[in-house]
Symmetry: C2
Subunit: 210 residues, 2 copies
DNA sequence: GTCTATAGAGGGATAGAC
DNA sequence: GTCTATCCCTCTATAGAC
């Protein structure tokens, strides 16, 4: 990969995160990269193609950097801890803002939609592995769809990131509330045998009736 | 309010939902409304002002239409039921897509940010009332921040809507998984006295240690 | 591979007639 | 209040020199 190509990819990521998908143009990205505007089209054909490539590569790299950490998660408390540091680091790096903007743009651009789906799938795969391990000994295992839960977690992060840009304090409140709820699941697993049996029986009954 | 103003507001809402915030221009909105492009600026000054007004009014009207239904919610099961019909109707009407696009645009436009914050606050107020009633007799009451939970629910809807545009099947899976989890809370409230005491004691211990 | 220059389209916004 | 006409800007994309 040439220096210019790499510079454009990095700049595209920066600009999408900072200016939003609506503010991302060939001129702005090229200026950010310190290269000529025409090189966007020489190397990537279209602006959309550049943005899609940049987002895909960034997401893949980011997911890979969390693979081991997520796979090693063994309890709800650990999952919540990893989730919080993951959220903080992804937010600080701008990856979360980029993902949110990518998904907003994906609503009417098929190429961005494909990139967004790829990125979400990459995250979902790793999160699902962690969720599977965490639920292995939980009474929740029988009624919970792990794939669905992993997707809900991913989508929730996106929503929180957008909310963060609108009301930072409210978003922190929301995150804290979710962590409290996550702790409840941990508690279910740590109950004594009697209470645990009661919960389990109740869960079984309810899931049949649904 | 003149016919033209109303037509422009309705058209702005439609266009933002259909074309996204990046595809919303004075010309497109005016064409959708069947009026002259210059009238956007005569009536609203700027395109952004028109979009912000349209989103604010739509959100206020929508929240108002759910006020009674949400306030009457008495159990988790009821809250989940209202949540599902609310989600379906808001999605069908395009309000959810508009909110998601508004929040994406809000990341770099202060006027849109103000509109988005207003809309989210309006929803949060009503959702929080419902959450408060639902948690009134729950062991979760002591450790749960109701305002934070309401905000998490709102942000979650936004994330799910964006995810829906990228992977409709995955979004449905996520929604179903969340409903399963919601049912767990309901179960906690319906446990027998022994189990309930065990859960309550455990919750109290954990919340102190956090 | 990189540059300049530019075509061609669309967009925000205003002036001025009606 | 509404219309036409227009200015000026930014945008994508390409042609062609180097």
């Amino acid at each position: 990969m040439t220096d210019t190509k790499a510079a454009l990819l990095a700049a595209a990521h920066t600009v999408v995160g900072r200016e939003g998908i609506a503010g991302t143009s060939a001129r702005v990205v090229a200026a950010e990269a310190g290269v000529n505007q025409a090189l966007v089209f020489y190397h990537f054909g279209t602006v959309t193609e550049l943005v899609a490539t940049a987002c895909t590569e960034a997401a893949d790299a980011s997911v890979a950097s969390y693979r081991e950490e997520l796979a090693a998660v063994g309890s709800f408390t650990e999952l919540l801890a990893v989730g919080r540091t993951l959220h903080e680091r992804e937010q600080a790096s701008g990856n979360l803002a980029v993902m949110a903007q990518l998904m907003a743009g994906a609503q009417r651009d098929p190429l961005l939609a494909a990139a967004a789906q790829h990125a979400m799938e990459a995250w979902n795969r790793e999160v699902e592995i962690a969720v599977r391990r965490v639920l292995a000994d939980s009474p929740l295992l029988e009624i919970t769809d792990r794939a669905g839960l992993a997707r809900a977690i991913g989508a929730g992060f996106i929503g929180l990131e957008l909310y963060e840009g609108v009301d930072a304090e409210g978003a922190q409140q929301a995150l804290a509330a979710l962590e409290q709820l996550g702790a409840v699941a941990e508690i279910l697993d740590d109950l004594g045998p009697v209470a645990r049996r009661a919960v389990r029986a109740r869960l079984r009954r309810t899931s049949r009736s649904t």
